[in-house]
Point group: D2
Amino acid sequence: MCRFLAYTGEPVFLDTLLIEPASSLVSQSLAAREAKTLVNGDGCGVGWYGARAEPGVYRGTLPAWSDANLASLCHQVEAPMFLAHVRSATSGEVSMANCHPFAAGRHLFMHNGQIGGYDRIRRSVEAMIPDDLYARRRGNGDSEAIFLAALGHGLDADPVTALARTLAVCTRMMHANAIASALRFTAILADGDSLIAIRWASDDHPPSLYWRQLDTGIAIASEPFGDPGDAWHPVPPGSVMTAGRGEVSFNDFVVAA
Amino acid sequence: MCRFLAYTGEPVFLDTLLIEPASSLVSQSLAAREAKTLVNGDGCGVGWYGARAEPGVYRGTLPAWSDANLASLCHQVEAPMFLAHVRSATSGEVSMANCHPFAAGRHLFMHNGQIGGYDRIRRSVEAMIPDDLYARRRGNGDSEAIFLAALGHGLDADPVTALARTLAVCTRMMHANAIASALRFTAILADGDSLIAIRWASDDHPPSLYWRQLDTGIAIASEPFGDPGDAWHPVPPGSVMTAGRGEVSFNDFVVAA
Amino acid sequence: MCRFLAYTGEPVFLDTLLIEPASSLVSQSLAAREAKTLVNGDGCGVGWYGARAEPGVYRGTLPAWSDANLASLCHQVEAPMFLAHVRSATSGEVSMANCHPFAAGRHLFMHNGQIGGYDRIRRSVEAMIPDDLYARRRGNGDSEAIFLAALGHGLDADPVTALARTLAVCTRMMHANAIASALRFTAILADGDSLIAIRWASDDHPPSLYWRQLDTGIAIASEPFGDPGDAWHPVPPGSVMTAGRGEVSFNDFVVAA
Amino acid sequence: MCRFLAYTGEPVFLDTLLIEPASSLVSQSLAAREAKTLVNGDGCGVGWYGARAEPGVYRGTLPAWSDANLASLCHQVEAPMFLAHVRSATSGEVSMANCHPFAAGRHLFMHNGQIGGYDRIRRSVEAMIPDDLYARRRGNGDSEAIFLAALGHGLDADPVTALARTLAVCTRMMHANAIASALRFTAILADGDSLIAIRWASDDHPPSLYWRQLDTGIAIASEPFGDPGDAWHPVPPGSVMTAGRGEVSFNDFVVAA
């Protein structure tokens, strides 16, 4: 599984959270303690909100630990909201187009998890994607498909409902195809104003998700980083956390059976 | 548009045809005389038949002229049949997965041309691809889609008919979507025994295709290369050329309206 | 030869100068009108000054026209001073380490030209590089070598003199090795406060260099871009132009024989 | 540290040794049991001898486990002698030019280890490289430098002596610069006829090296692979193993103090 980190708060240089801390995301790309695959070396990416309405995105196929552009960018860019992701490929080969975060309009999306048996229902999942968005699909993995499908389900207006509907349809497709493996979905969606972080699975094993109040804002990450004494809180399974403008709220995240 | 070259005959080192001749494919990657886009710098690829039932494939995103691996491989590999391609991207971004040739089983396929208005009918074109092949689709361009769709139309048993049927369906989709631009299809399919080269378009402008009898075999290419006096013959528009085991034959290639 | 562009003035988004104008640097990467090599497809790079003391740098081996990260970065980053470069390799293979601009401390450097017969004097040129800088040399081309050697000749304190001295030593090395081809050096050095643009050659053919007063600042480029009526001025051969804080000055650039 | 494998014997497909066995080199790229760095994800390479006098070489910056070209090449190429390497960068950044094996004429060379304090003596080490070879130096790491320096010390005529002399000079340079860390050198040199494998260090910790008699030939590798019961023999520290034409011999490898 992959690892990721998102931040919202006062503008900070990306490297202060992504590179400098102990067990930072870049060092996690070499060995993630809680992840099932030890190495997240199948590409990396960052997305950030700056002076434009649309976020900036950098994605590359090299492991994060050896990507000099990523290091320079994270040292240089200061942002009030950003997402970062290191990939361990499950569906979709190693390519820039399959790296997270994915961008569409003002939204950024990244995902840790997978649709069980995706190859058997890929076309059905993709059928949920509106035509205009489908023409811009670049990769071939499940994460980008969920994001684009959710845009078709009204993500712009009501993102949590749109994602829940998308996952509900995926779940039904899996049942219809007698796929026994689980749908696991720990993901973060950003729009420049707030972060929406979801931790959910069709079984009891949603990928880990933690959050922490920093001096300057809120960090949400696949696993804690920084000093051992730092207070990280798990995001409960089956819930959605919203963070932005200094506020944090939690709700149940329910996917209709 | 792209440029390509295919060869069948006695085993030759790939570089004797791809790199050493005047106006070779690699130098064509810098400036192709008959192509509409001057530079074919959006990746390259070679596929060749060796001791295995399945062909070898090398594809990369660098321009052919600066790809040291391509140069070493072409210098080292000797083969009785091979395909090579330099890309000028029309549909599908620059990525390894969108580079030609595409491989499936014992087949190799490469294409120069495009489906007009592809983005508007992409999903319909992809709907022709059988599920098991669809799960292995890696790129997002029209060329790979045509190849996989033709496999679903019986390319294994009767490749010319399968390709004609696939193009016929594409043409009907274009009509149904009121797409005015043309479908142009100059392509080569190989199976280790023979090369099938097709030059066809829905209008009067199929991309160029030439062939030549060499001392060691047959070369088929987007445009002539080598010494000016070399005898290259155009493959007529609307025809299919089959070459293999020392023989060459020509037939009409008809796409049902 | 390569193509480049530098800017100093009010902060602007990089793409307003690099991508949007007619004949922009990215479109120049496909066909540069005044350059001797038609295609500048051997990598690209940008460097910019932001909130840090040291500049940010992005470099990649793909041609500029197909580099999605470059496009996103240039759309997102707003800077009061930046450099951009598209490469046509002369010395040093295509690699990230050989892409311009080169960075050291607060300095950025990019170069269009070459040291004639560089391979024969490479080691001597490199001998001018101080030990601590040599340990950080990443590429193997002449441009990076000149930059690092000039740092050893006091570029921090007096950049014009340091570059002139470096080129003088190179010229003597070329004479000593009976190298007949020319040393051509059109280059830009930045430190966050000002741009120093030099156009010089040991013969009568220094690579082209132009500058223009924009509404927001000064642009210096290998060749004019934008609307045909825009007023571009050539930087005279054998001269150095300094631009920064709204002022422009010109001086002779003399390399001692 | 890196991992590598070399083979000499009857022609075999490369993947039968590099990919198919349990704990193969490609799976070792994810987790090498005896290596000090857990991941060898900083690029990979193979070199092989075919019908040409010079070997073929493929090198790439992606981790071996995600390199589709490497997999296809290893499945397709059959060779009586080949070298393969997965890198964990110590000196020299991640780039194609720093990937092993290095080629010069009919020779291939790969290395696992490092020159302690290399950055402080890099220029002195490079001073051993003959001018004509120096012009072709592509990377900036210690391994390529040792290989090219040994070519200058007569590697063509007497490879073991040339390598021993090169290491002796390196050792003296380290002493002269008061470098306390060790010079560790486990390496394989091939010329198409035989493999020369050396395991040596200036301290008591030369990187591991094993060899095994296969049905078809001899394999030499950083660590055993295949079934647990397979009989692998360590190459003793301070020794050189020569394998070729069905014969194996061992000698002391002495580096003059």
